[in-house]
Symmetry: C2
Subunit: 214 residues, 2 copies
């Protein structure tokens, strides 16, 4: 009988995550103490720390489970034949919906994704970023192949471009510059369009009719 210990550990770990799911959802992250989690999981406080190194790590594990759902919905509703702009908006739109529906979690999660507190690069928060890349890279590659995107730009940079604009929009929501889902979504759309069209003036745009000042 190989791995009775393993199975037991796995069950305990899951018990902690279950407790987190329930308590975080119920009282929120801040108002849930490690002791609470330990009690709900039926173990001692110190034992929690032999499963997770910090409270934040529990939170991230909790988030990964949540995001699994969101991501599933994303790939499900994605329509590969649509223009890249629509596809991108649809992908990020899902994520935005989740954030706006779960403000407290959303705040912490975004924060941790873009600017992880722990400088150590082998921490779970990195996986969140990687997940994004894995999700978006194929979209962009396809769009490149179809001539909807420039081919002379490194994939990473293009990915970073859209990712950065998304980050900006979320940040604006964070800081109260954008409030409703519509505000946020429209800003994202406008920025993505700008990214595709470019901010430098193009011939034929009405902005070129004004005289140029040297």
């Amino acid at each position: 009988m190989a791995g009775k210990r393993e199975r037991h550990k796995e069950r305990t770990r899951q018990a902690i995550l279950d407790a987190a799911l329930r308590l975080f959802g119920q009282r929120g992250y801040e108002r849930t103490s490690i002791t609470d989690l330990a009690q709900a999981a039926g173990i001692g406080k110190a034992t929690v720390y032999s499963y997770f190194r910090t409270k934040g790590e529990i939170f991230l594990a909790f988030c990964e489970a949540q995001l699994e759902t969101v991501r599933a919905a994303i790939v499900e509703t994605d329509v590969p034949t649509m223009p890249i702009l629509d596809r991108l908006l649809s992908v990020y739109g899902r994520d935005l919906d989740f954030l706006l529906d779960n403000p407290e979690i959303g705040r912490m999660l975004t924060r941790e994704t873009f600017f992880p507190g722990d400088p150590d690069p082998r921490t779970p928060s990195r996986r969140l970023g990687e997940r994004y890349i894995a999700l978006l890279a194929p979209l962009l590659l396809q769009a490149q192949a179809r001539g909807q995107l420039r081919r002379d730009v490194e994939l990473t940079l293009m990915l970073g471009h859209f990712y950065g604009l998304y980050c900006m929009v979320v940040s604006a929501w964070f800081t109260g510059r954008l409030i409703t889902r519509d505000d946020v979504f429209m800003a994202l759309e406008a920025l993505f369009e700008q990214a595709l069209q470019g901010l430098a003036p193009r011939a034929g745009t009405d902005n070129s009719i004004l005289p140029q000042i040297p």
Copy 2:
């Protein structure tokens, strides 16, 4: 004699900030406790809290002072006649230098600027964002007036665009995807160029020679 009390309060406040400047710089933020600050400022611990609401607020006050220097250098070296791309790079380059030279402070500061922990919008971290806007808006307006930027795009959106890309680059540094100052700077330059040129294919670019796949 109006305001003896005021003057005294001001002096105490300054004493705390001086202590912060010294101790944060010496031992770092995390390793400096409120008690340390209080001792160094020659007051009781609880008194600190009648000047600042949280430790983070002290940090932000400390940062504002630091950034004052950086900002001064920025406006000083800015050359209004240069192309907008160079001006933007020069502005953000200053900031990047500061971040890279002061990693611990830089990490926390950026984090707090983009994703403030306190949801309350009247907190000092907001001022950091506002400062940015005040710094960049004139640059962009001038560039618009000179025909270097599209005129049919709202200023806020354009500002957000560059700001977002900057955010992305800093985030990539944070998460160890970009390491050296050169990495970071080149990425920023590439992204800004993309922003100006657009990511959609343009006639005359070598990317259009490949066959298009419907």
